[in-house]
Symmetry: C2
Subunit: 118 residues, 2 copies
DNA sequence: TCAAGAACTAGAATTGTTCTATTTTGAGGT
DNA sequence: ACCTCAAAATAGAACAATTCTAGTTCTTGA
C-alpha cells in the first residue's frame, strides 16, 4: 500500500525514489520489499513500468488509458502525452508478422522547454 | 568497419554478439573497442541503438526510414515493422508540452508465431 | 624518423536489479 | 492465549551490461 501510494505521489519515479517515498510514510522498508511490491503491482496491471533507454525503470499508476511518454534527452524529464491517434489505434502495426500484439509502447524523444533555453 | 559489418550482418544483435561477429572477421577485438565503435556510429547516425525493456541494447543499420519494432515477450525475437501511419507522422504528439520532439520510438509488444504455438 | 594524438587493451568500478538464505510477521486452528 | 505454517521482509551477496581509467600501441603529418 505504501509503495502504491508512493507511486501515485511521484509519477515517473525510479524504484529508489519510490522506496524513499514509502519509507517516509511507513518507516523502514527494504529495497527488495519495494522491488517485490513494484513487480507484483505491475504484473497485476495496477501500475505500469516503463524503461526508457539510458535510465532505470520508472513507475506510474496511470494505467489502461493508452497514453504515452515524452522524455527530454538532456535532463530526463518525463511527461505524459495522450495517444496522438485516439482510442487504442497504435495496436495495429502495418504488418504484424504473425505476432499477437498486446501493447504499443510509444516514447517521444526531444528537449524540454528548460533545456532548450540553456 | 568490422563492427559496422557485423551490425549489418546481424540486425538486432547485442553488443556481445556484434563483438563475436567482428572477431570472426578480424581476429581479436576488445569489448571496449566494440562499445566505442558502436557508440560513435550511433552518435553519427550511421547505426541505431534500441534498448527494449528487459534486454540489453540492440543495434541495427537500417536507419532513417522511420521504422519501428515488434518484440516477442517470451523469446525476445525482434522484427522490423514499417510505420503504421506513413511518412514520419508519429513525430506529432497530440500535445508536445513545449518539447522539441526529434524522434518517436515505437515498440510493439506481443507474442511471436513460434511462442504462440507453445 | 619522430612526435602527438587517436584508438585499443585489460581490468577494475558502477549501477540497477535479482537471487538466496534467514528471520519476522500474521492468520487460523486448537 | 498458544502453536504452526505459509507468506512477506530483510540483509547482503551475486549478476550483467556498460562505463571508466590507466597504460600501451598505432597512425599520420611534419
Amino acid at each position: 500500500m505504501a509503495v502504491l501510494e508512493a507511486v501515485s505521489a511521484h509519477p515517473h519515479a525510479t524504484a529508489d525514489t519510490i522506496a524513499e517515498g514509502a519509507r517516509a510514510s511507513i518507516g523502514t522498508v527494504s529495497k527488495q520489499a519495494v522491488y517485490n511490491a513494484l513487480g507484483t503491482l505491475s504484473e497485476k496491471g495496477i501500475i505500469r513500468r516503463i524503461q526508457p533507454a539510458g535510465s532505470s525503470a520508472l513507475y506510474e499508476d496511470r494505467v489502461g488509458d493508452n497514453h504515452h511518454h515524452l522524455i527530454c534527452r538532456s535532463c530526463g524529464k518525463t511527461v505524459d502525452v495522450d495517444c496522438a491517434v485516439g482510442g487504442s489505434p497504435c495496436l495495429t502495426a502495418s504488418h504484424d508478422s504473425g505476432f499477437a500484439i498486446d501493447e504499443a509502447e510509444v516514447i517521444y524523444w526531444g528537449k524540454c522547454p528548460d533545456c532548450r533555453k540553456a
